[in-house]
C-alpha cells in the first residue's frame, strides 16, 4: 500500500489555515438579504394572533413570513435517508411554538439591525400552555405537545402524539426475565445521561440565490446535501429539479449539521424576492434553537454466574427528543444496537423503551448517537458487576466480549429504525486493545493499588471501558463517485461525500490514488454539490471511510480497467496482455508501451475518431457495517476534601481496521475523546423551571480548552477489515463513546463512590462520598 496507511497532509489544510474564503458566510453575496428568525419566549404556547403590519412597514424590511404565509407541509428536519425513520412532525412555521427558541416568524431585511428592529415590532398574542419539562413525566401528560392532526411516520414506530410518544421499540432474544431470575448475581441500576451541545465553532449558516437558469441555489454548512434537497422540496412543495445544494467547507458539525436549519428560511426569502439571502445563526440560536444530544434514562439489569460469565442483559431506555422527533427512534435504538453486541454470549437479551416529546430544544444527531449513552450504562454496570464479584474488570470484559469470527443476533434484529443486517465479525482486535491499553496505563499495578493516597487528601484510581460503533448503515446508505481522466494524465474525483473537516476529501483521494497507483496530487477532488457530484447519503453514521471509500475504490478500479482496455486498443495488443502501472500502459513483455500522459492527451486532442473521454462511475452500498472497537482507560486523582478530580491520563487503543491516513485518524480519535471527556465531566445543557435554556452561550456552556486536555495516548491496533476499502473501518465516532463510563469507573476505583448521572462533577463526587461516610 503506497498511498493509503500514509499520513498525507490534508489537501485543503493550508488553504484553510491561510484564511481562503471557503465557508458559507464567506461565499454569500455581499448584498444578500439578511434573514432572521423571531423565536418563541415560551416553552409551549399557541399563537392566538400575530400582527406583522408595523414590522413590514419598517424601512429596509423586505418581507416577513408567519405560519399563515408558508406552505403547511409536514416533514422532518432530521436529514436522514428515505423513507425517513423519524416522525414527520414539523412545519416550516406553525401556530404552536413548542420550546423556547422555536420559530415564530421569518424576517428578511437589508441589514442585521433592520431585521432586529423589525422583530421588535411584531405583535404576538399568545395562549401560554403548560409545558412538559420533565421527560420522566411526559408520557400521558395532560399537555399534548403535538395536538395537530398531520404528523405521521413513514413506517410503524409506535408513534402516538396524543401520549407525547415519538416512538417505542422492543426486542428480545430468549426469556430475559427467566434468565435473570436464575442468575447467581444480578446488577440492577439506573443511569442518566444529559443533553450535550455540539458547539461546532462555525454556527449554522446558509445562503441562497437564484441562478441564470432560474433555479434555487443553496450554499449551506451541512452534512447531508442530497437529503437536504429532498427535504426542502418536500417542505416547500416544489420539484427538486429546481434546487441545487452545495456544501462548501464546513466549520465543524459532529452531527449537528445533519439536520436542516436556516436553509428553508433562506429558500423562502430568495424565492419570494428573487434576491440572494443569508441566514447566519447566532451562538445563542445554535444552543437554543438547533439540536442537542438526547438526554436519557437507562435502566439496566445484568445477570451473571459467580464465575463472571454473563447470562442476560436487560436495557430499558427512556429518551427525551424535545419538541420534535428528529432522530428520536434511531438514536434510542443505537443505545442498544451499538453496545449490547459487545457481550454476545448471553443466553437472553432485551432492549426496549420509549422516546417522549417534551418542551425542550429538540434532540438530534450527535457524534456517538446513542452509543455513548448506552455505553455509559452498560460499561458502568459491568464495572459494578466486577466489583460485586470481586473480579478484575479487565478479566470480566475478556471473559465475555465479542471476538473475531463471532456474531450477535442483535445485528440481524436491530437496524436503523427497523430490522438490521446479520453479520459475522471479520475484524475485532478488542483482546489486543485491552492488553495493549492495560500495558500503556499500567493497569495491573494501579488497579490493585486503588484508594492509594498520593499526597495530602488526594487519591488515585483507574477505570476502563470497551466500545463499538458501526461503519455506515448497511443495505441503505450509498456512496458514489466518478473519475474523469484529463490530458496530462490527472483525474477529477467527484464525490457526494461531505467533508466536515474530517479530511474525507483527502482520504478518498488517497483511496483513488491507491487503486490507480498514482500520486495523490494527480487526484483533484470536488465534493458535495447536488448538481455535479454523484449521490452520497452524506456524512453520518460513521459511513464515509467505509461506504464512500468503497464507492471510490470501485470507481477507481473501473477507471483502471478502462485505461487498460482502451489502452490495449490503442497499442493494438490483447487486453489480457496489457498492464497499467500508474504511469505507463504496456504489454507484459514491455515491448509495446505508452505513457498515461501521452495517451490522455491523444484521447482528448489527436486520435481523430479514436478520441474519447474516459469517465468511470460506480457506487457502493454496504452489505454489512463492520464495527470499529476500542478500549479506553483513564487514571484520575481525586481530592477527597473537595471532590475535585483531575484526569491524569487517558489511554485509547483502537481497532478501526487500516488507518487510511494515520494522522487524520488520530485527529478523529483525539477530538472524539475530548468531546467525550467534556460530556463526562462538565458539559450539560440546563434549563430553568420555565424551560429557558441557562446554558445558551459559551460563557455558561463550557467546552474543553487546551488547558483542560489530559495526557491522551492513542494507539491503533494492527487490523484489517476484509469488507473495507484496503481494510479500513470507520473512526469518526468511536472515540467519543468511552469517557463517561471510563471516568465513572476510575472515580469508583479511587474513592469507592459511583456517579450514575452525567456529568460527573466534583459536587456529585463529594456528596456521594459524604453519603457513604454517613452510612
Amino acid at each position: 500500500m503506497k498511498q493509503v496507511n500514509k499520513s498525507v497532509p490534508k489537501i485543503d489544510g493550508m488553504g484553510l489555515a491561510k484564511g481562503k474564503p471557503a465557508f458559507t458566510d464567506d461565499l454569500a453575496d455581499s448584498n444578500a438579504i439578511i434573514v432572521k428568525v423571531l423565536r418563541s419566549p415560551h416553552a409551549f404556547a399557541r399563537i392566538k394572533n400575530i400582527n406583522v403590519d408595523k414590522a413590514t412597514k419598517y424601512p429596509g424590511v423586505e418581507c416577513i413570513f408567519t405560519h399563515k404565509d408558508v406552505p403547511r407541509n409536514v416533514f422532518t428536519r432530521a436529514g436522514q435517508g428515505y423513507p425517513e425513520p423519524s416522525p414527520k412532525d414539523k412545519f416550516i412555521l406553525d401556530e404552536y411554538v413548542r420550546y423556547v427558541g422555536d420559530e415564530l416568524a421569518i424576517v428578511a431585511a437589508s441589514t442585521d439591525e433592520v431585521a432586529e428592529q423589525a422583530m421588535k415590532l411584531i405583535e404576538v398574542d399568545y395562549e401560554v400552555l403548560e409545558p412538559v419539562l420533565d421527560f420522566e413525566k411526559a408520557e400521558n401528560n395532560k399537555s399534548v405537545i403535538h395536538p395537530e392532526k398531520e404528523p405521521y411516520t413513514m413506517f410503524p414506530m409506535g408513534f402516538d402524539a396524543s401520549k407525547n410518544i415519538a416512538c417505542t421499540y422492543d426486542m428480545h432474544v430468549g426469556d430475559v426475565d427467566e434468565v435473570l431470575k436464575n442468575s447467581e448475581v444480578v446488577i440492577d441500576k439506573t443511569y442518566y445521561t444529559q443533553a450535550q451541545a455540539h458547539v461546532a465553532i462555525e454556527t449554522h449558516s446558509s445562503t441562497a440565490y437564484i441562478d441564470h437558469y432560474e433555479r434555487l441555489n443553496i450554499i449551506t454548512s451541512t452534512q447531508t446535501p442530497v437529503h437536504l434537497r429532498r427535504i426542502i422540496g418536500e417542505a416547500l412543495g416544489m420539484p427538486i429539479n429546481k434546487i441545487r445544494v452545495v456544501k462548501p467547507r464546513v466549520g465543524g458539525a459532529f452531527g449537528g449539521k445533519q439536520q436542516i436549519h436556516g436553509e428553508l428560511f433562506c429558500a423562502l426569502v430568495t424565492l419570494k424576492t428573487g434576491r440572494p439571502s443569508k441566514c447566519i445563526y447566532s451562538r445563542k440560536e445554535v444552543f437554543e434553537s438547533s439540536f442537542s444530544r438526547h438526554a436519557m434514562r437507562l435502566n439496566i439489569k445484568i445477570g451473571a454466574e459467580k464465575s463472571g460469565k454473563l447470562k442476560a442483559i436487560d436495557l430499558r431506555v427512556l429518551s427525551d427528543t424535545g419538541a420534535y422527533g428528529e432522530h428520536a427512534l434511531t438514536v434510542f435504538m443505537i443505545a442498544g444496537s451499538k453496545t449490547l453486541p459487545l457481550y454476545n454470549k448471553v443466553d437472553a437479551v432485551h432492549f426496549g423503551g420509549t422516546v417522549v416529546y417534551t418542551n425542550h430544544t429538540p434532540g438530534g444527531a450527535y457524534r456517538g448517537y446513542g452509543a455513548i449513552q448506552g455505553n455509559f450504562a452498560l460499561e458502568s454496570a459491568m464495572d459494578e458487576l466486577a466489583n460485586k464479584l470481586n473480579i478484575d474488570p479487565l478479566e470480566l470484559r475478556k471473559m465475555n466480549m465479542i471476538k473475531e469470527g463471532e456474531t450477535s443476533e442483535i445485528f440481524k434484529i436491530m437496524g436503523e429504525g427497523g430490522e438490521g443486517t446479520a453479520q459475522i465479525i471479520e475484524s475485532c482486535k478488542l483482546d489486543y486493545c485491552l492488553k495493549r491499553g492495560s500495558e500503556m496505563i499500567k493497569w495491573n499495578n494501579k488497579y490493585q493499588n486503588k484508594n492509594k493516597k498520593v499526597i495530602d487528601d488526594k487519591v488515585r484510581g483507574i477505570g476502563l471501558a470497551i466500545a463499538m460503533q458501526g461503519s455506515g448503515i448497511p443495505n441503505m446508505d450509498m456512496g458514489a463517485a466518478s473519475l474523469k481522466l484529463n490530458d496530462d494524465g490527472f483525474f477529477n474525483l467527484l464525490i457526494g461525500a461531505t467533508d466536515l473537516g474530517t479530511g474525507s476529501d483527502t482520504i478518498l483521494a488517497q483511496i483513488a490514488a491507491e487503486a490507480l497507483n498514482v500520486p495523490v496530487e494527480d487526484i483533484v477532488v470536488y465534493s458535495s454539490d447536488s448538481d455535479l457530484t454523484p449521490f452520497d447519503c452524506g456524512a453520518y453514521a460513521s459511513s464515509t471511510t467505509f461506504v464512500s471509500g468503497n464507492g471510490v475504490k470501485k470507481t477507481a478500479e473501473k477507471m483502471k480497467n478502462l485505461i487498460i482496455s482502451e489502452g490495449a486498443k490503442h497499442l493494438k495488443i490483447d487486453v489480457s496482455d496489457t498492464i497499467f502501472d500508474g504511469k505507463i500502459i504496456k504489454s507484459k513483455d514491455g515491448e509495446n508501451s505508452i505513457s498515461l500522459k501521452e495517451i490522455s492527451k491523444g484521447w482528448l486532442y489527436n486520435y481523430g475518431q479514436a478520441q474519447k473521454q474516459l469517465l468511470a462511475v460506480d457506487s457502493y452500498v454496504g452489505k454489512k457495517s463492520p464495527p470499529p472497537y476500542m478500549a479506553g482507560f483513564a487514571e484520575v486523582e481525586v481530592d477527597t476534601k473537595t471532590g475535585h478530580f483531575d484526569i491524569l491520563n487517558y489511554t485509547a487503543v483502537v481497532d478501526c481496521g487500516t488507518t487510511i491516513n494515520p494522522k487524520l485518524a488520530l485527529g478523529q480519535m483525539e477530538g472524539g475523546l475530548l468531546q467525550g471527556i467534556g460530556m463526562a465531566v462538565y458539559e450539560d445543557v440546563k434549563y430553568n423551571k420555565y424551560g429557558q435554556m441557562l446554558t445558551n452561550n459559551l460563557m455558561n456552556y463550557k467546552i474543553p480548552t487546551r488547558e483542560d486536555v489530559p495526557n491522551i495516548n492513542v494507539e491503533f491496533a494492527d487490523s484489517y477489515e476484509p469488507s473495507g476499502p484496503y481494510g479500513a473501518k470507520s473512526v469518526g465516532e468511536i472515540g467519543i463513546d468511552t469517557p463517561p463510563a471510563v471516568i465513572a469507573n476510575a472515580i469508583f476505583n479511587a474513592v469507592g463512590v459511583r456517579i450514575t448521572d452525567l456529568p460527573i462533577t466534583p459536587e456529585k463526587v463529594l456528596l456521594a462520598m459524604k453519603k457513604k461516610q454517613i452510612k
Binding site: 465557508f23 461546532a200 465553532i201 462555525e202 464546513v250 465543524g252 491522551i712
Partner: protein, 150 residues
C-alpha cells in the same frame, strides 16, 4: 461615522456605524479569514492583531480601533504559511475555522514569550477554542515549529 484604520498595512478610511464591532467591519472590507463564532468573546475565532497584540474583534468596537494597525491572516500570508505547515503536517487543521485566529495568536506568542514551555503555550493559546482536534495535534505542531525555528 468615518474612521482611519490601517488594515494589513494599507491605510483606509472606512465608514462605520458607531456601534459596529471590528469583526463586521473587517469582514465587510474583505478580511474573510476573521470568523464569527460566539458573539461573547469566548471562542477566539475572530482574533486579529491590533498593533501586533491579539484582540477579539467580535467584542471590540471598530471606532475604538481608529488610528490603529490591524493584521489579519490575509496580511501575513508568508508567516501564516510557515506556522501552518506544522499544523497541517500534524493533522491539526480539521475544519480549519479556528485556525486563522489561532495562528495569529501563535505569532503574538512568539514575540512575547521566549522559549515557552508546553504549559505556557497552552496557557497563552487557551482562548482559541477548537472543537475538532482535541488540541493535542496543535500542541505537537507548535512545539515542533518553535523547536525547528531556533
Amino acid at each position: 461615522m468615518k474612521i482611519k484604520l490601517k488594515i494589513n498595512n494599507q491605510d483606509k478610511i472606512i465608514d462605520i456605524r458607531p456601534d459596529e464591532m471590528l469583526l463586521e467591519v473587517l469582514r465587510k472590507n474583505g478580511c474573510l479569514s476573521v470568523k464569527h463564532g460566539c458573539d461573547t468573546g469566548s471562542c477566539g475565532a475572530c482574533t486579529v492583531l491590533l498593533d501586533e497584540k491579539p484582540i477579539l474583534s467580535c467584542s471590540y468596537l471598530a471606532a475604538k480601533a481608529e488610528g490603529h494597525s490591524i493584521i489579519t491572516v490575509e496580511g501575513a500570508q508568508k508567516k501564516v504559511e510557515q506556522i501552518s505547515k506544522y499544523l497541517v503536517d500534524e493533522g491539526g487543521v480539521q475544519c480549519g475555522f479556528c485556525i486563522p485566529g489561532l495562528v495569529l495568536t501563535v505569532m503574538s506568542m512568539e514575540k512575547e514569550l521566549n522559549n515557552p514551555s508546553e504549559e505556557e503555550i497552552t496557557h497563552y493559546l487557551s482562548g482559541n477554542l477548537c472543537r475538532c482536534t482535541g488540541y493535542s495535534s496543535h500542541t505537537r505542531a507548535i512545539k515542533k515549529y518553535l523547536e525547528e525555528k531556533k
